[in-house]
């Protein structure tokens, strides 16, 4: 596991992202409300640069007697692929839709300089796993130390 410093916390404020190439892989690091997540910059559908997509929210169904209604939710936690609009959950690499496809996700953790010695306060790195339907993005652990954002990638 190699560690790459990809910037400082102040350079990637909440709601922004930084796309970097480390260990020959293009990876997007996202600051979602102060927590950092990293995913591979490849859409599992057709290989589009997923991390260039729109960071947004998504819809869920509210059933009424007059039929289904749209409800907006998870603002800032969802990325939509720039090519075909497939939706992924930035916080864990899952698809928003159910599917039999599979994308690789990488865990990302962020640690601040003053908590780096307190494991209990670290964000838990998520590990690439199968999502409920098979498609899952590759995610990478992200750590923040001394105000720097560090991504861990298998080299």
């Amino acid at each position: 596991m190699a560690r790459f410093v990809i910037g400082t916390v102040s350079e990637i404020p909440p709601g922004s992202r930084r796309i970097v190439t480390v260990a020959r892989r293009s990876i997007g690091v996202f600051n979602v409300s102060g927590r950092f997540y990293a995913i591979k910059n490849v859409c599992p559908h057709q290989g589009a640069p997923l991390c260039e997509g729109q960071v947004t929210g998504t819809t869920r169904t509210l059933w009424t007697s007059e039929g289904p209604r749209l409800e907006w939710c998870r603002e800032g936690e969802i990325i939509r692929c720039p090519w075909h609009g497939w939706e992924f959950d930035l916080t864990n690499g899952d698809t928003v839709f159910t599917s039999r496809n599979r994308v690789r996700a990488y865990a990302v953790s962020v640690e601040s300089a003053d908590t780096v010695d307190d494991p209990a306060e670290r964000s838990t790195p998520s590990v690439a796993e199968e999502s409920r339907d098979g498609i899952k993005l590759e995610t990478f652990p992200v750590e923040v130390a001394e105000g720097r954002v560090i991504v861990e990638v298998d080299s």
Binding site: T59, G67, R80
Partner: protein, 342 residues
Amino acid sequence: MRVDAGIHPRVKSATHLQDYMGSPWKTRRLPGSDSYLYPPPRSIADSTNPSEVGRVLFAEGGLDRAILIPCTRGLLPDPEHGSIVASATNEWIAQEWLANNEYAERYLGTIRVCPSDPPRAVEEIHRWAGHAGFVQIGVPLRGHIPYGSPVYYPIWEAAMAHNLPVVVHEDGGQGIELPPTMVGFPTTYEEYYATLPYAAGAHLASLIGEGTFERCPSLRFVWADGGFAGVFAALWRLDKDWRSARVEAPWVSKPPSAYLGKHVWFVLHGLDRTREPADLAHLFEIFGASDRVMFGSNFPEWDAWGGLNSRDFSEDVFNRVMGLNAERLYDLARPTSKARRT
């Protein structure tokens, strides 16, 4: 069991339906059943007499059961009038076809309802659902609002409550429906007839896209105008883009074609094949359709056909299409506690 899922009985005279209406409807004139913009070229038989039809279908034809889909008169401008026609149709079928003839036990009826009048449609379903002879709800293929619209929820929920499938078939006569094709009125009968099944694809896209099958998890539809292969192919297209469109319709919780399994059946028509009859077996395989396609002759229309040739199919597929699928869908083998009343 050999089952024909598409038999069209007719009233013996233009005004016979009025005999089953109360006042003031019995004296209100109806558009004739022959006021049809696209009348079939001919009929091969007279289907007004249950004994005579039964002799052809059961005694000579070897069928065990026949599912009756009586046509009504198209979508009438007055929805209540439409419901009165549907109600009289059900009364006529119950009294003359499901009883009072020597083949009554072999005929199975369709509860006709007028979908532009949901409250009366629901009443009509409750009225007949306890009658063992009626095995499904019938609505016309054409109208003004696709069947996925929430305006139809009460009808579909009543069908579910009685565990009855809904059959959709092009109606007899011309009412105030939209044109039979999406591009307007065709010129000839042939154009009309060949493109008719595509309306089933439009309704199905609506039922899936508007979440009706999510809302009505045990709702079952039977598309009785044939053309299953074209409709299945249209669903592939829905599958292609549903992930991208999910944000607009999050209630579509799975690939659209995945809704077929629990919800969709087709009546197979004679023209649903290539020139080579055996290709049909291949089509069944491509679409995984051999357990959701049911033989229907379309008797007594000009294109009525006798069903699959057993030489072209495995015994298993032949038996499913020619009876077993209908037997399962309509639960025909189960001894019924429902009464056949007249």
